[in-house]
Symmetry: none
Subunit: 225 residues, 2 copies
């Protein structure tokens, strides 16, 4: 999962970032409104953890930006203000959850997962796509009831593909999603071929269809059959 943390308080920001990174997510962060919007205009995230009190304006602007551009990122507000008004306002503009500081990182994680699955799936902690079933908690995947073991990159990739099923995903968008800013964009992304190959093989070996359609010159599409 790719997460953006918008939080000006350095310690908290780093804690959150470290935590979610170690959970196996790609985590980026920034500390003001302008950078947040700049990043959002370039990149796509699965989830945004948004502080309301920022040095150059309040976080509601981010929500408005997302709404205006019909984006589907999950937004969880993390705010020091515990006012009901803020909460209502935030949820009204499109936030998915509201958490008052201070909070337990484990709780934040639980909410991220909860909100993500509420948005992506059907209320359980399962993400189901035809014969592919992903247990978000157990981090396991089965194809036709055959369990398959995925590495981090493969798992993240599969999640990303299913979240964007039917859409063409450019190779560099995929790279960006899986590696964050760490990646040298002048790279030729050769390694993606390998990860695609491995994921494909694992799904097919377990009796699944070949969902990964390559789009010549662009990237890949997860066939939404």
């Amino acid at each position: 999962m790719k997460i953006l943390v918008v939080e000006d308080e350095r310690g908290l920001r780093e804690n959150i970032t470290t935590y979610f990174s170690e959970e196996g997510n790609i985590c980026e962060s920034c500390c003001d409104l302008a950078t947040a919007i700049a990043k959002l205009s370039i990149y796509h995230y699965d989830c945004i953890l948004l502080d309301i009190g920022l040095p150059d304006g309040d976080g509601f602007a981010v929500l408005e930006y997302l709404k205006l551009n019909r984006r589907d990122e999950v937004v969880i507000i993390i705010s020091a203000r515990n006012s009901l008004d803020d909460k209502i306002r935030g949820l009204n503009i499109g936030a998915d959850d509201y958490l008052t500081k201070p909070f337990h990182l484990a709780e934040l994680k639980a909410r991220v997962i909860a909100v993500y699955r509420r948005k992506a799936a059907n209320g359980k902690n399962l993400l189901v796509f035809n014969e592919i079933i992903i247990d978000l908690h157990g981090r396991t995947v089965t194809v036709n009831d055959t369990p398959i073991v995925l590495t981090r990159k493969e798992y993240d990739m599969l999640l990303y593909f299913i979240a964007n099923k039917g859409k063409v995903i450019a190779k560099n968008a995929l790279a960006e999603h899986l590696w964050g800013d760490e990646i040298d964009m002048h790279n030729n992304f050769d390694f993606i071929y390998t990860h695609i190959k491995n994921l494909r093989k694992k799904i097919i070996d377990a009796g699944g269809k070949d969902y990964l359609e390559s789009v010549y010159g662009i990237g890949y599409k997860f066939k939404a059959i």
Copy 2:
């Protein structure tokens, strides 16, 4: 077990805290409503020992907070007020038990254990998972009827794993749960490896299966077979 003691009378608070700490629990405390709610919004506890008469309001607010946020902590009210109304009210809002001051620590302990097991398991004093049987009262564990001796960390870890069986638990989430806020999150958590190793060995040596599955790059999962 991780316990929060909310009690404004200093002597009693320290007695309880010391007592439960020495019993091998992680025990935190605070002396007013505001701090209690603040702590609860950050951390998760297994059990809350809650005084009703607090300097900045009455403890029922804590219960309301927990109910509102659909939390599952066990709450035992410890109050000087011996009115039936308070008791009924408390239990109605979601408290699990009610104890009138003064009381013996041993009795408090008994109630904590009773309530914890009532909630967690099957009405007995035992938490049973396949061939692993945990006696919450005696703080003993048997595997295939072979008693194994666990240290505090190992015991807490086992409890946490069983409570979250089937879910992947990140290394840092585990650290957070076992060491509370004392831990430096920049630590590499090397010691966890050792505790895992020891717990694993003790279970296997006693003839148990290897339930502790490591999830590369993330953490561990207690296999829910």
